[in-house]
């Protein structure tokens, strides 16, 4: 089993990295793109077991350490 965790800056938080990437894309000719947000992707190997219990534990880990709830949102997927 594998967990895929995506951490992104909250929409209300200034994301200068995203803005810079958007500007670069625009300059390279990728016209018409909207806002870009740069986040983090974590892949965690898990032993076979109860998916939902792992989801709960990993969401707790996201709140405690993997993300900072003041500035970031997270999504946990387990497959």
């Amino acid at each position: 089993m594998k967990a895929k965790i995506i951490v992104t800056p909250k929409k209300a938080v200034l994301d200068p990295q995203g803005k810079t990437v958007a500007n670069a894309l625009e300059q390279m000719g990728y016209k018409g793109i909207g806002a870009v947000h740069v986040g983090k992707y974590l892949e965690i190997d898990l032993p076979a077991g109860d998916k939902e219990s792992w989801r709960g534990r990993l969401e707790e880990a996201c709140r405690k350490i993997l993300s900072n709830p003041v500035i970031e949102d997270y999504q946990v997927e387990i497959e």
Binding site: P9, L14, P16, T20, K40, I65, V70, I71
Partner: protein, 236 residues
């Protein structure tokens, strides 16, 4: 007075902080390794700057789970003064000892220069001895120093006079240009509601002797010392 200077893997302002407390302020100080779990006998704690744990995940995110941080939480809860400088400020925010977070500078550039600070509140252990109207000229050196918190938190900081230091120009005005990192309301440093925990991005320990171009930083350490001495005198 006994000062603890915490050391995490990749702290790099620990020596400077210890030097100022011992040799400039004339107090006793010792390093406390992050694996230790006691602050017994300590009167004040300094969380120094650096790049603890290589800034992995987020600045300060991993250091805040070091064993010593539990002792810092307890020390702060008992009213002990804790000062976080640069990475130390980031760690205190991650630990929830201070509200908000420090994020990537708006310019995306690492800023390494001298700035001016205005004292926004003198009623704290870290600012009480700084003369009214005095601007502090201190160095900054950070890539993630943009102070962010939601509107309600910033309003609360302002209402409670928890904003202690603000970036200003040489005339003492908090302008857009004098803000080196995009911090909300030009915030360079804040304290908690109880006022015994504070953090700031600039480096007072690198500007506490005239030989270093500015001794303004010493005023922060002298404020803290005077506060500790007053507390002892009160208890006696």
């Amino acid at each position: 007075m006994n000062f603890a200077v915490l050391q995490f893997p990749a702290s790099n302002c620990d020596q400077d902080a210890l030097h100022v407390v011992k040799n400039v302020l004339g107090q006793s100080a010792r390093f406390v390794w992050h694996k230790e779990n006691s602050l017994a006998g300590m009167d004040a704690v300094i969380v120094p700057g650096g790049f603890s744990y290589g800034d992995y995940l987020r600045t300060g995110a991993i250091a805040r789970f070091s064993p010593i941080m539990q002792a810092v939480q307890a020390f702060a809860a008992r009213g002990g003064p804790v000062l976080g400088i640069c990475n130390g400020f980031q760690i205190l925010c991650e630990a929830g000892l201070l509200p908000g977070a420090l994020i990537r500078n708006r310019s995306l550039q690492f800023r390494c220069e001298h700035i001016f600070l205005k004292i926004a509140a003198h009623d704290s252990p870290f600012t009480s001895k700084i003369p009214e109207g005095k601007l502090l000229r201190l160095p900054i050196a950070h890539g993630e120093g943009c102070y962010f918190a939601d509107d309600a938190t910033v309003e609360k900081l302002q209402a409670n006079r928890q904003i202690l230091w603000q970036y200003v120009n040489a005339a003492g005005e908090a302008t857009e240009r004098s803000n080196p990192n995009g911090s909300l309301r030009n915030i360079a440093g804040i304290c908690n509601e109880a006022r015994n925990v504070a953090g700031l991005m600039p480096h007072p320990e690198r500007a506490s002797e005239p030989l270093l171009g500015s001794a303004d930083g010493l005023l922060i350490f002298e404020s803290l010392l005077a506060w500790l001495q007053a507390k002892v005198a009160q208890a006696a």
